[in-house]
């Protein structure tokens, strides 16, 4: 009886431990080629839709983040502040691309827009792997209007999107502490 009870106790302990759903530790994605692919696809989309007549039928204005990077100022920001800017910007781009997809009728344009939206979602996974909280799916109230601006065309939207990925997102991934630990 005592042996049976002990065995049951061990079994329950094991199941409880498994039931907690402890996630396996996510390996940090520090390979710059991952973001490079997203950047190149965004640039290709911008190039492809630059000559779209009448803006591919897209109308309205879109709120986008600022993309400028001053390295002198960047040195004064910590990782969390940079991460906040990146995640809020990714959120805004997600919203804008969603609105664009609803307004276009051509399938080719829709396909390109869908690809870029998928890349934004993948970037959220990359940030989570670097132990950066993914806030792309929720609004970021901390970001003020000074950090955003408005665009009124699809080509402008896609150009800002490309610049945002090449600049701020890349600098965040390059300076991520998880990637700095792996390199040392």
């Amino acid at each position: 009886m005592s042996s049976i009870s002990g065995l049951v106790a061990v079994l329950l302990t094991v199941l409880q431990w498994a039931g907690r759903g402890l996630p396996s530790p996510v390996r940090p994605i520090c390979d710059p080629r991952v973001l490079d692919r997203f950047i190149m696809e965004a640039r290709d989309t911008e190039t492809a839709l630059r000559g779209c007549k009448a803006g591919c039928g897209v109308t309205g204005t879109f709120v986008v983040p600022l993309t400028n990077v001053d390295f002198v100022v960047l040195e004064t920001k910590d990782t969390e502040e940079q991460a906040l800017e990146v995640q809020s910007g990714l959120f805004l781009f997600g919203q804008a691309l969603g609105a664009v997809r609803e307004s276009v009728s051509r399938a080719a344009v829709k396909s390109l827009i869908d690809n870029n939206k998928s890349n934004i979602h993948s970037l959220g996974q990359v940030l989570r792997s670097l132990h950066i909280k993914d806030l792309s799916l929720s609004p970021v109230p901390a970001v003020g209007d000074s950090a955003t601006r408005k665009v009124s065309s699809l080509s402008e939207l896609l150009r800002v999107h490309t610049n945002f990925l090449r600049g701020k997102v890349r600098l965040l991934l390059t300076n991520a502490p998880a990637c700095q630990q792996n390199s040392t």
Partner: protein
């Protein structure tokens, strides 16, 4: 105080010199970059970024349009920001032209920058660019070539430009060529500070240079200037296994071909290399036959055997005992040359002639063994030496003694066992006396002197008494073999008193010298 002033002056001079050096170096680098952009960038103003937060723009004006820098204004505007103006500087250029420069010390990347240039309020240049896409870096520093330890390889290593956040975005182009050659190869490598050059020739000096550029994904720009070439020689190479194996195969094929040619023409070659030497044997046989006929002897005698003349062996000294009963002496005539050669060397022509004459008196009976029988008969009935029938005046006794050059060394020079034919004669005299005549043969290797005595020297039967007895070896030639028997002139009983040394007959030239025993003393 004086020392402090001197120290300050010295420090100032050093700093000034360093700055001057850096200024000179910077001026040279600027001049190089300007030349590059004038060739690579078609738009104006031509702008380039060297670091993280700078931008340099310039344009060129012809001589007729040149003016002072105050006539120009450089206005730049970042997206969603207010415009700003940059101060302009002018520098002379080749061909009377002038260059006007604007340099920004704080910039924003990843955002469009609008640039407008005015000359006297006239817009002359308008351009929009992204600063992160116009990088023109300095060439990589500390280019070094090292050997990898493998043939045909060199390792090139360098120091990347020190730009933060851009290390993994840099692309390098390595150019290498043999020293003195203008034809080379180029290899690209990304985000690395070393490259192994492969496929190089062994034992050859190569010159290598390198330049850098951003990869164009996040950052882009122009190729930098080439570094100064660095020279290094590759390791000397070993024999290529392929070349060695091919050489062996070719040599083997050539050897087989030559063997085939030789085999196909072997008869012809054998005739040329080893021609058949005609042997005069058949002709000599004719002469021998004639000689025998002339002498009236058959062809079974010892002296007249053809093989005796033609043997390549060293002529053996030979003692000839005449027959007991001999016919009338034949007239003297010269021996054939072959017979005289068989006697060996002689230093006395007279003795040779006497030998010749002695040979003339040689008689042979058809019986091959009669000399043995006759000698035995003599032993049984010994007669005084001087009165022996053997010493008839017409009889010829020929003794051949090989005498060495030196006197006392005779006994030490001759190997007893290697004497080709040894006939031992002993008398009551000492060995020194016996040397002169019938003593043991003392023959040096190849240089024996033959002295001969014949009974003709003592015409008055004054043959030197040699004592009542002596030992000798009788030689009987049956035509097939030669029989040697030690004999003694004394009675059989007396044989046991002495010691008879018999030596094996060897028809050979003695190979070495060993001391020889003394002649047999025989006591009577």
């Amino acid at each position: 105080m004086t020392n402090d002033n001197l120290n300050k002056l010295l420090v100032f001079c050093v700093l000034f010199c360093a700055q001057k050096t850096s200024i000179v170096h910077g001026a040279q680098a600027l001049e190089t970059k300007v030349a590059l952009l004038l060739h690579a960038e078609p738009e104006n103003p031509k702008c380039f970024a060297e670091g993280m937060s700078d931008l340099t723009c310039f344009w060129e004006e012809d001589e007729e349009r040149t003016g002072s820098a105050d006539q120009y204004s450089f206005i730049y505007t970042y997206q969603n920001e207010n415009s700003s103006e940059c101060s302009i500087t002018a520098l002379p250029a080749a061909g009377g032209k002038r260059l006007y420069f604007c340099r920004l010390s704080q910039t924003q990347l990843f955002v469009p920058l609008d640039i407008r240039v005015f000359r006297d309020d006239l817009l002359i240049h308008n351009r929009s660019l992204f600063i992160e896409l116009v990088f023109l870096l300095d060439p990589p520093a500390n280019l070094t070539l090292t050997s990898t330890g493998t043939q045909g390889q060199l390792k090139a290593s360098w120091l990347p430009p020190s730009l933060k956040y851009m290390g993994d975005s840099m692309m390098y182009e390595v150019s290498y060529a043999m020293a003195g050659s203008h034809i080379g190869k180029v290899e690209e490598v990304q985000a690395s500070s070393e490259l192994i050059l492969r496929g190089l020739q062994s034992g050859t000096k190569y010159k290598v240079r390198i330049r850098v550029k951003l990869d164009g994904i996040s950052y882009s720009g122009y190729w930098s200037a080439w570094t100064d070439p660095v020279l290094m020689e590759t390791m000397p190479g070993d024999l290529d296994p392929l070349i060695v194996s091919l050489s062996l195969i070719i040599s083997l094929v050539l050897t087989l071909l030559s063997l085939l040619v030789l085999m196909s023409h072997r008869r012809f070659l054998l005739k040329k290399i080893w021609p058949i030497i005609p042997t005069p044997e058949s002709k000599f046989q004719v002469f021998i036959y004639i000689f025998c006929e002339w002498l009236g002897h058959s062809t079974g005698g010892l002296w007249l055997r053809p093989a005796y003349f033609y043997s390549e062996e060293f002529p053996a000294p030979l003692e000839v005992l005449s027959e007991v009963s001999l016919g009338p002496a034949l007239p003297s005539s010269a021996l054939p040359p072959k017979a005289s050669e068989a006697l060996g060397e002689e230093d006395e022509d007279e003795k040779l002639k006497r030998v010749d004459s002695a040979l003339e008196g040689w008689r042979e009976t058809p019986q091959e063994h009669w000399p043995m029988d006759q000698l035995r008969a003599i032993h049984q009935h010994p007669a005084p030496w001087t009165q022996s029938s053997l010493l008839e005046s017409h009889d010829a006794y020929v003794t051949l003694n090989a005498q060495n050059h030196s006197g006392e060394e005779l006994l030490d020079d001759i190997l007893e066992e290697t004497l080709p034919l040894q006939v031992l004669f002993a008398s009551g005299r000492t060995s020194s006396e016996s040397r002169s005549d019938l003593g043991s043969f003392q023959q040096s290797s190849g240089l024996g002197r033959l002295s001969s005595q014949s009974s003709f020297e003592y015409p008055n039967h004054t043959w030197p008494p040699k004592g009542p007895g002596y030992t000798y070896m009788a030689v009987a030639d049956s035509g097939v073999s030669m029989d040697y028997s030690p004999m003694s002139s004394s009675k059989i009983d007396d044989i046991g008193k002495g010691v008879i040394y018999t030596n094996e007959y060897k028809n050979e030239i003695p190979a070495h010298r060993r001391p020889i025993g003394t002649p047999i003393p025989f006591a009577f």
